[in-house]
C-alpha cells in the first residue's frame, strides 16, 4: 500500500467501517445470501418425533409434511442480507463524501468544497471514470435531489454502487472528483441506551448513570455502536433503530393514522403489524392434525397474509431467529430477572418498540406472586433436530429479550400452576418489494 493510499484511507473515507464489508464479499467471495426462505413458501418444521414429554395426544410419529425440510441450517445466517456494504479503498475522496446505508437507498453527505459552484452526483455499478463520468452505464443522480448535501440516492436491493461527486467552480471547471463504493443493509444494534455505573452496596448491581460520568463502566454496549452514534435516519425509532410505518398498501404513513406494516430501514425487512383481531392468536407449526390440535396453524397465517397482499407484498414468511431477534429493544425494561411485576402494568414491559409494534402480546398467568408465569413467545423459522432426532424450535421471547428453544411444534406451554395451552404468537416478515421504493 502506498503512503498516499494509506493516508486516503485514514483521512478521506468518512464512512462507517461496515462499508468495507462487502467489497470483499462481492469482489472476492461472492454473495453471502444464505438462501433464506423463498417468497410464498411456508417454513416447515423438520421431520421427526415432536418430542413432547408429558403432552397427552399420542406419541405416534407425526412426521410433518415436507419432511426433508432443512434442519434449520439454511435459515439462520445472521442477516441474510442481499444488501452489502462496501467501499473501495483505492478511491479518492477528498470531498469527504459519506454515505449512510438505509434499505434500498443511501443518504449522501459531503463536506463543502472550496470555490464550489455546483455539485453533481453520479452512480454506477462499476468504477466511474473521472474524465467521462457518464460513460459505461453510469447514471446521473436525479435532478435536484443531489445538487447539495445531504441528498438521498435510491438503490436497488443489494445493488453495489459507486457513487461519485463532481464539483465544479464558477467557470465550469471540475475542481474535485470524489468517489466511494457502497450499498445498504446491516445488523440492528441492540437498542441499549442507558449507561450503568456500579451500585454502591449491591455486589454486581448497577445504577443508571449519565453516560459521561466518570463512574460509568467503560466498554458497555450503550457507549458503542449505532445506538450511541445518533445516526441519520430515513424514518424514526429510538437509538439506532430506523423504522417507517406503512399503510395496508405499503405506502409510508405520514398522518398518524393506523399502520399495517413496519419497514426496518436498516435491514430492509418489512414486518407485519398485528391487528386487534389477530394479535392474540397463537399458532402451531406444521401438520398436527393427527394430534387433535385445534389451534391455528402458522401455515394458514402465511397463506392468508400473502393472499391478502398485506402492504402490497406477497412474500410473507416466518422470520429467522436472527431477523426477529433484531427487533428486540434492550432499552425497554423487560423481564430478565425474577421480578414479574403487577398485572396491570406488565404488558408495558416488552422489549420491543410498542409505538411501531403496538399489538405485541404477552401471556400472563398470575396464580401467585411467587410463580407468575409470563412470556411473549413468537415463532421463528429456525429449528434443529436434537441428538434424539427430536425437533427443537427456536422462538423469540419479547418479555425476556431472549431466544428460547422448545420441544414441540405446538409450542405448548406447561407449568404446574397453569392450564396447558398450545401455540406461540407469530409475526411475519417480508423482504419487501424488489425494485420498488414504497
Amino acid at each position: 500500500m502506498t503512503d498516499h493510499l494509506r493516508n486516503t484511507l485514514k483521512a478521506g473515507l468518512k464512512v462507517t467501517s461496515l462499508f468495507a464489508v462487502s467489497l470483499l464479499l462481492t469482489a472476492c467471495l461472492g454473495s453471502s445470501d444464505s438462501g433464506s426462505s423463498d417468497a410464498n413458501t411456508t417454513n416447515d418444521p423438520p421431520a421427526g418425533d415432536t418430542g413432547e414429554n408429558n403432552q397427552d395426544t399420542g406419541d405416534e410419529d407425526q412426521n410433518t409434511d415436507d419432511g426433508d425440510q432443512s434442519t434449520g441450517d439454511g435459515d439462520q445466517n445472521a442477516s441474510d442480507n442481499d444488501q452489502d456494504t462496501s467501499i473501495a479503498p483505492e478511491l479518492n475522496n477528498t470531498a469527504g463524501l459519506k454515505a449512510t446505508p438505509l434499505a434500498k437507498q443511501l443518504i449522501l453527505e459531503w463536506d463543502s468544497v472550496a470555490e464550489a459552484d455546483s455539485y453533481q452526483v453520479y452512480f454506477s455499478s462499476s468504477l466511474i471514470d473521472e474524465a467521462a463520468p457518464l460513460s459505461a452505464g453510469s447514471r446521473l443522480a436525479p435532478d435536484a435531489s443531489c445538487q447539495e448535501s445531504p441528498c438521498t440516492l435510491v438503490l436497488e436491493p443489494g445493488e453495489l454502487t459507486y457513487v461519485a461527486l463532481e464539483t465544479k467552480d464558477a467557470e465550469g471547471e471540475v475542481i474535485n472528483f470524489s468517489q466511494i463504493r457502497t450499498a445498504a443493509g446491516q445488523l440492528n444494534d441492540s437498542g441499549a441506551l442507558r449507561c450503568y455505573a456500579p451500585h454502591t452496596g449491591v455486589a454486581g448491581g448497577f445504577d443508571v448513570a449519565d453516560c459521561t460520568a466518570a463512574t460509568v463502566i467503560a466498554g458497555q454496549d450503550s457507549l458503542v455502536g449505532r445506538d450511541a452514534d445518533n445516526p441519520t435516519k430515513l424514518g424514526s425509532g429510538s437509538g439506532g433503530f430506523d423504522f417507517t410505518k406503512l399503510d395496508s398498501n405499503g405506502h409510508p404513513v405520514t398522518d398518524g393514522s393506523a399502520h399495517s406494516c413496519v419497514r426496518d430501514n436498516l435491514t430492509g425487512l418489512v414486518w407485519e403489524v398485528k391487528t386487534t383481531a389477530n394479535r392474540d392468536t397463537r399458532y402451531v407449526w406444521g401438520d398436527l392434525s393427527n394430534q387433535n390440535v385445534t389451534a391455528a396453524n402458522v401455515h394458514d397465517l402465511v397463506a392468508e397474509t400473502n393472499s391478502d397482499n398485506l402492504c402490497g407484498l406477497t412474500n410473507w414468511r416466518l422470520p429467522t431467529a436472527n431477523e426477529l431477534f433484531g427487533l428486540v429493544d434492550f432499552d425497554k425494561p423487560h423481564g430478565i430477572t425474577t421480578w414479574h411485576g403487577a398485572d396491570s402494568v406488565i404488558d408495558q414491559y416488552l422489549s420491543i418498540d410498542r409505538d411501531f409494534f403496538p399489538h405485541t402480546r404477552l401471556l400472563n398467568y398470575s396464580t401467585s406472586s411467587a410463580s407468575r408465569i409470563r412470556h411473549a413467545h413468537y415463532w421463528t423459522s429456525d429449528s434443529y433436530l436434537n441428538e434424539y432426532s427430536e425437533p427443537n424450535y427456536i422462538l423469540v421471547d419479547f418479555f425476556r429479550g431472549s431466544l428460547v428453544n422448545t420441544y414441540s411444534a405446538r409450542a405448548f406451554f406447561r407449568h404446574p400452576d397453569v392450564v396447558l395451552h398450545d401455540g406461540a404468537f407469530a409475526r411475519l416478515v417480508s423482504k419487501g418489494s424488489e425494485g420498488v421504493q414504497p
Partner: protein, 191 residues
C-alpha cells in the same frame, strides 16, 4: 442438509465420533484471514478466532479460556491488542447471538472458532434494562452455545439460551471489532 445426511451425522454422534463438521452450517459466512482473525460476512464483524485468554499460534487456539466476571471481560477488551488492533471490544448481545448456528443445537461454527468448548456461555456488553420496580439492574445479557439447552426444570417446556446473569458470574468471552477498509486489503492480498 437433507435428511439422509442428517441421519449420518446423528449416527456419527452416537458412535462417539466427531461429527463437528456437519454442524458447521454457516461455513460460507466466515473467512479466516492469514493473520487469523475471522470475518463474519453477514454482519461485517471481525471476530477473534479464540476465546479470551487463549493464544492463537500456528493456526490454532492454545491455552485455557479466561473465566472472567463482566468487568474483567470489559477490561480485557480495552487492553487487548491482538492482530495489531486496539479496536477490540466486547460484542453486544445481538452480535454474540449472530454466532449461534441452529443446527446441532446452538453450537458455534467449530471450523471458524476451533477451541470453544461445545457448552459455552459468553458475555455480551449489553446490560439488561432495569426492572421496573427497582433503581438498579443486576443482569448482563449472556448467550449460551450448546448441543441442546435444557429447560430450567421439568415444569417448563422451553428453555432460554440468552439470559441475564449477574456481572459477578465468571464466564468466557470472545472479542470483536468492526471491519475496516484495511482488513479488506489484507484479505484481498492473501487470496
Amino acid at each position: 442438509m437433507n435428511k439422509q445426511a442428517l441421519m449420518l451425522m446423528i449416527a456419527g454422534l452416537f458412535a462417539g465420533q466427531t461429527a463437528l463438521a456437519a454442524c458447521n452450517s454457516n461455513d460460507a459466512d466466515y473467512v479466516t484471514s492469514s493473520q487469523g482473525w475471522v470475518l463474519q460476512k453477514s454482519t461485517g464483524l471481525i471476530w477473534q478466532p479464540c476465546l479470551g485468554g487463549m493464544s492463537f499460534e500456528s493456526g490454532s487456539c492454545t491455552g485455557t479460556p479466561t473465566a472472567a466476571n463482566w468487568h474483567q471481560a470489559l477490561q480485557a477488551a480495552q487492553s487487548n491488542s491482538d492482530f495489531q488492533s486496539s479496536e477490540w471490544r466486547l460484542p453486544n448481545v445481538k452480535e454474540v447471538s449472530s454466532l449461534l448456528q441452529f443446527s446441532c443445537g446452538t453450537r458455534i461454527n467449530e471450523a471458524a472458532f476451533a477451541g470453544q468448548p461445545i457448552d459455552s456461555t459468553l458475555w455480551s456488553s449489553t446490560v439488561g434494562a432495569p426492572v421496573p420496580d427497582g433503581n438498579y439492574s443486576n443482569a448482563v445479557m449472556t448467550v449460551r452455545f450448546f448441543d441442546e439447552v435444557q429447560p430450567p426444570s421439568n415444569s417448563f417446556s422451553y428453555a432460554p439460551f440468552i439470559t441475564g446473569q449477574a456481572p459477578t458470574t465468571t464466564l468466557n468471552f470472545r472479542l470483536v471489532r468492526n471491519a475496516t477498509a484495511e482488513d479488506f486489503l489484507q484479505l484481498q492480498a492473501s487470496q
